[in-house]
Symmetry: C2
Subunit: 276 residues, 2 copies
């Protein structure tokens, strides 16, 4: 559930009153973009990176953002203050707007919601996560659109397979999870797919790390290559670097968090908790 | 614009009050299905076909429809009566519902909107339509989901190419238009793509027609095959069979409505205006 107040087009509404007219193109045509950032101790994390991507997604989808960066930052800060939740996720959602004919773009609606976030709960490491692979290529993968039709539809499939998340591949070439990027450790290389993916903010941080004795690179690899991996992990805003224990029922490494994943995870924690 | 009243979860609202909470999965994850039927002189046309597809789309996407067929029919009729618009389009929209975590399915919201329809205006035949081809495969093409992300995004491209609509192909194999099926006449064959498409209601009616001297069949064909066509037309609920004058700037036939298109168009008009 969202926090008490939600911002719609730069006005605050109580969550129960936060509504959008039924002619919005998000509802009729699944048309919209978003971004999601975390807030720790009232500090938005990597906000400039998220704003860069948000404005870029908007531009790519021909959606105008009614607020400039300074105004958007102000709106986010006001929401954090008003809701009084120190640690949270903030979602910026920009829809296709009210459409005259239910097909052509209207004036976008900008919705900012805050969600209480229990980062410790999210990051309990009792067991690594289990992934199940699925052949699907997201359309417009480089844009953070609201298209998660396949991901949501795959919930029953995922449950049936005893998996916690899906790992997409494009006819055998690994891409990403629906809401996270994917990394593997093969020999002395830390590798994440390069093509047909969304470039995650956490992913970009990891690509800039220096891990002694390892190279870190963007490179495409296939399902078959997974047989040789020593570690695997996903990266996302809420889960930092989170170990993958099994893929398609096959245990990765010894099924526990590996040394590389552990080190990257610690580096990410340090980065987000550093004084800014 | 929708008519005066809109039905949400079987309650009537004035259009300006017809709103949905911002936590609906249609807005957050582009998750929903719909159907669209026309009403002529207060008679819903092919309503059983549309209901068949609507309930099937819902089932395929794990969405429960809160009304059974008799109740849904009643809701549609009440809306027609209340709005007092004899000729219209009725849209049944079923969303993913209010989601606790913004990702998992909630209880679906059912929105029924009516739109005044000027069928004569829609079907003015001054000129056939111009199509521009585009390589894109819709995900889950057999389900009538709200995913029109690509179609809406292609508006500027379409305008730039001077086209009225897009004709999708899947790496060279023709599929469909975003909101219509596609037919060609090659020699003595009337052909419509068979694979990776939405099976339109109007399309299914055409497939059952008998046209003297011609066979009618579902069969995949490629962009290259378009060089040999004598006629092309699209089929949809509002446009019946509508002639295609040009594809990618190349004139089809003599650029005017051909005899087969004309005949099919007349058969469709007859079918929808027949006493029931």
């Amino acid at each position: 559930m969202a926090a008490k107040y939600v911002s719609i087009n730069n006005q605050l509404f109580l969550e129960e009153d936060a509504k959008i007219g039924v002619s919005d193109l998000a509802m009729h045509r699944g048309y919209g973009i978003f971004d999601y950032l975390k807030v720790i101790d009232n500090r938005p994390i990597f906000i400039e990176d998220h704003f860069n991507r948000f404005y870029n997604s908007a531009r790519e989808m021909y959606l105008e953002v009614m607020l400039d960066r300074a105004q958007l930052r102000k709106a986010v800060n006001e929401l954090i203050e008003k809701n009084g939740i120190a640690t949270s996720g903030i979602k910026l959602l920009l829809t296709g707007g009210y459409s005259e004919d239910g097909y052509k773009l209207g004036k976008p609606n900008l919705i900012i919601s805050q969600y209480p976030l229990n980062l410790q709960e999210e990051n309990k490491l009792d067991t690594g996560m289990k992934l199940v692979t699925y052949d699907h290529q997201r359309q417009l993968p480089h844009i953070k659109t609201i298209d998660y039709l396949m991901a949501v539809r795959l919930h029953p499939f995922m449950n049936e397979k005893g998996a916690n998340d899906v790992l997409y591949h494009n006819t055998g070439v690994i891409t990403e999870c629906p809401r996270a990027n994917f990394f593997v450790v093969i020999d002395k290389d830390i590798i994440t797919p390069k093509s047909n993916i969304l470039r995650g903010i956490t992913r970009s941080k990891v690509l800039n790390f220096k891990i002694s004795g390892y190279t870190i690179a963007e490179e495409d690899f296939s399902i078959d290559d997974l047989s040789g991996i020593k570690e695997a992990f996903i990266t996302s805003t809420t889960q930092y670097a989170y170990p993958v224990a099994a893929i398609d029922g096959r245990i990765v490494g010894d099924g526990k968090i590996g040394p590389v994943t552990k080190q990257i995870r610690e580096l990410l924690f340090k980065l987000t908790h550093a004084p800014h």
